[in-house]
Amino acid sequence: MNILSVDTATESATCAVMNNEKLLGEIVFNYKKQHSVILMEMIDSLLKNLKLDISDIDGFVVSKGPGSFTGLRIGASTVKGLSQGTKKPFVGISTLDSLAYNLAYTPGIICPILDALRGNVYTALYEFENETLVIKSDYLVIAIDDLIKIINEKRMPVCFVGDGVLLFKDILKANIKNSSFAPMHLNVARASSMAELGVKKLEKNICDDIYSFAPFYLRKSQAEREYEKKQREMKNE
């Protein structure tokens, strides 16, 4: 079973081919969002170098979000097109699950954080239990200060991963004892990480439907935004 995995949810544009036994190849560009320009060429070059044709692919995996609005749409439409054209199944995997999986077997909490702008992050808390990645919270879009509170209540070591690390490392380090941060080679969305989570689903015949699948944007409601704005204004007064 050859799986093609595509992740364009963050600044990283990445694709990988994996079979049941190993990762056959992967491309990662973590430089400026130019996903719509380079993604198809990346997939083409990956397949060519592996001497594979798109018809040799048995299923697809795509990042379903949260992440960049445009990036998620590029990934979803590309994979939907490939899935429809080849009549092979596809499955969406959470960007946060995939990032957490980069840090497989890390003891304590694994906490992916993605910049959600306006001082917020997309995040969730994970732990590894019996070699399995287990999510321990909802998928959240919250202010970095609120995340710090949640983590400090857990009183466990925590390792952060994701583009939010670049922005918030200092504040996290200063406010959370026993925190560590993913090294650079793991601190990037990798299609291979997502592929492995996806393969496990596709093997069990869990897949998504091209007509009903939509990116998971995870946005704050307007009510929440207005409440925050009021809070800010009160602070300023």
Binding site: S68, F69, T70, L117, R118, Y217, R219, S221, Q222, R225, E226, K229
Partner: protein, 152 residues
Amino acid sequence: MDFLLDSVEKTIKLGEKIGKLVKSGDIICIDGDLGSGKTHLAKGIALGLDIKEYITSPTFTIVNEYEGRIKLYHFDVYRVNDPDEIEAIGFDEYIFSDGVSIIEWSNLIEGLIPEEHIQIKISKAPEKGENFRIIRISYWGIRYKYIEEINV
């Protein structure tokens, strides 16, 4: 800062001066009644950004993108009924990007405008004549101090 102008050409010229000064990531809100010249001012800003393409009002497309000295995102949110709608098209990723954002009718999505921005209000001055406009420029945030250099 207030400018009293009496022609479209002068409005464009003022926009051009602003456009020459703006920096990557700047946010410029333009408000004023229909026909007051918001898009003409935007055209001037685009000229100042060395954009050669013809600028049209993005009333129907909501946002137009142009390549210049810095990338320009030109929004017109007149047709937006609810700030949630504009937020849902990835508004934040535009305005917090490296490009320059111009937002016409920004008052309709006030809650989404970051604290630091340039505000340009255009009002007609019928007592002076049909073509007269008062253009009031204010700014929030030290990064926009360059606005004070503008004169006509």
